[in-house]
């Protein structure tokens, strides 16, 4: 206890040196905690995307690939609308190996009253849907009635509030759990509501009719392949049977995202390692200089009766306390950055980004702080060892 209080007093009496050492450790903690949370959030986001897609194949009109990047709609919430004949759903069901086919219709709103940008409205068929419905069921116990909408977690329209889309009053009945994807910014309704909205959009000059003039349209059909069937073969069969329709394998979308994620993970990990090596070397050099600076001080303490182990423990305690303070400060600063600006990070990365749970974050924070203290103590251990071997006579005479 005496050694601890003496170490703390030593640190307080040299505020400049203490602050510099703590700042260095804070950079270590900041890079580790910040980088780890970002990488973990990306991984959680990818898992969420896999679970959220649910389908094996998605059918979209051929024009969708050029008109708007279909992948961007999922990942970044880009609005887009493209249409094909609603009969595609029935035709898809005729293909051997197709277990379920769930149509969805998209509509990009004009500026909704919630925001100064367009929002994506997605119409689903609750009786056939197997992708969005499980997510809606977590937040909504009743049915999705006419002119009712369910909003993604990023559209902050309170439950019971009215959302005006193309001058149509839609009642918000539930808010979905976060998925970390662009679908968090979408609004979901049933097909009857979507027909009303499409008609309202038509009046505003936003046409959804396809070249045949038919207004019975869908934007995408989500396909679940029966067990035992090869998804690639079913994908080829669908492409062969359906004209002007592109069959996109969800696995290929996820693989693309996964590759981007692996690249970002490698970069972040490389940067963390570089910062750690650099900071550790600087810490080591700083403690070596401190040994020279404090040799007389320790010689006096030796002459006053302090044992070698006592001096060693004191130096070690000082470096550990410094590391602990820096670790807490760095982790705190990183937490403010990554949590306060999570939406900005997600927008910038353009990848699924979902924060890990509180327990994981707290564990990570505790681990980072302990690691910072340990690294600081390790670097300080060298000076502790050197200081414990100081010859009092030589140190007082030569100052080394």
């Amino acid at each position: 206890m005496r050694i601890f209080s003496l170490s703390v007093k030593n640190l307080v009496r040299k505020p400049g040196r203490t602050a510099a050492l703590a700042l260095l450790t804070a950079f270590l903690a900041l890079s580790v905690f910040g980088g780890s949370v970002v990488v973990l959030s990306l991984r959680t986001g990818l898992q969420s995307l896999e679970a959220r897609l649910g389908a094996d194949i998605i059918l979209v009109p051929s024009e969708a690939q050029s008109k708007v990047s279909f992948q961007n709609m999922f990942l970044q919430g880009t609005t887009g609308a493209f249409y094909m004949d609603a009969a595609v759903t029935g035709k898809a069901m005729e293909v051997p190996g197709v277990e379920k086919a769930a149509p969805q219709t998209f509509l990009a709103s004009l500026k909704a009253d919630c925001c100064s940008v367009k929002i994506q409205v997605i119409g689903i068929d609750p009786s056939r849907d197997f992708t969005v419905q499980p997510w809606i069921a977590r937040s909504l116990t009743g049915e999705l009635g006419d002119m009712d909408v369910v909003v993604g977690c990023r559209v902050e329209a309170g439950i019971g509030k009215i959302l005006r889309i193309y001058e149509q009053r839609c009642k918000v009945i539930a808010c979905l759990e976060p998925t970390g994807t662009g679908l968090d910014t979408a609004v979901y309704c049933n097909m009857d509501t979507m027909k009303t909205l499409l008609a309202a959009a038509e009046e505003k000059g936003v046409s959804h009719r396809i070249s045949s003039g038919d207004d019975s349209v869908v934007s995408a059909v989500y396909i679940k392949v029966k067990d035992g069937y090869d998804i690639g073969a079913v994908n080829s069969a669908l492409t062969g049977k359906l004209r002007k329709v592109t069959a996109v394998r969800t696995r290929s979308m996820i693989t693309g995202v996964s590759d981007s994620l692996a690249g970002i993970s490698r970069t972040v990990t490389g940067m963390i390692i570089a910062v750690w090596v650099l900071a550790f070397v600087i810490l080591l050099l700083a403690y070596i200089l401190i040994v020279r600076e404090r040799s007389r001080e320790f010689a006096v303490l030796r002459l006053l009766g302090a044992s070698r182990s006592m001096l060693g423990r004191m130096a070690l305690t000082e470096s550990a306390v410094c590391g602990l303070a820096g670790g807490i400060a760095g982790t705190g600063a990183a937490a403010i950055g990554v949590f306060a600006f999570s939406a900005l990070i997600e927008n910038s990365l353009g990848l699924p980004y979902l924060m890990p749970g509180t327990g994981t974050v707290l564990l990570l924070a505790a681990g980072t702080v302990l690691l910072s203290a340990a690294v600081s103590a390790l670097a300080g251990g060298f000076s502790a060892w050197r200081l414990s071997r100081v010859n009092p006579g030589t140190a007082l005479r030569d100052g080394t």
């Binding site: 100064s116 977690c153 902050e156 600006f341 939406a343 900005l344 927008n347």
Partner: protein
């Protein structure tokens, strides 16, 4: 406190400005940006007063803390922002302003505490 105030005042219409509208119309978040500009300027004046006048220092720090609380509450609580959290006003302006005003508030309180300890600016 002065640095935070200047960043708030300048940032509110530059790099920390609320959503940019394509059609020239303004939403609630634009007005929040105007209010933040005003609060940032006020905070800057208070910070200069605290620096220059030893007699008014304690009071200036307390005023700075009060303005900071107002600043923390302005984006989102006192003046509503866009309801989609991916919008610029929610993703950039709000968190940055809350952090800056919180930092200014803490600096003000620390300054007031130091003044109280030294007995300066308190009659």
């Amino acid at each position: 406190m002065l640095i935070s105030a200047l960043v708030i005042a300048i940032g509110s219409f530059t790099f920390l400005s609320p959503c940019v509208h394509d059609d020239g119309s303004v939403g609630a978040c634009w007005w929040a940006g105007r209010a933040l500009l005003g609060l940032g300027c006020l905070l800057a004046v208070i910070a200069v007063e605290a620096l220059l006048s030893a007699r008014a220092r304690f009071g200036a720090y307390l005023s700075g803390a009060a303005v900071s609380v107002l600043g923390v509450l302005t984006p989102g609580t006192l003046i509503s922002l866009c309801r989609m959290s991916s919008m610029r006003c929610r993703a950039v302006t709000q968190p940055a302003m809350i952090i800056l005003f919180a930092a200014a508030g803490l600096a003000s309180l620390a300054g007031a505490w130091l003044c109280a300890r030294a007995g300066k600016g308190i009659k």
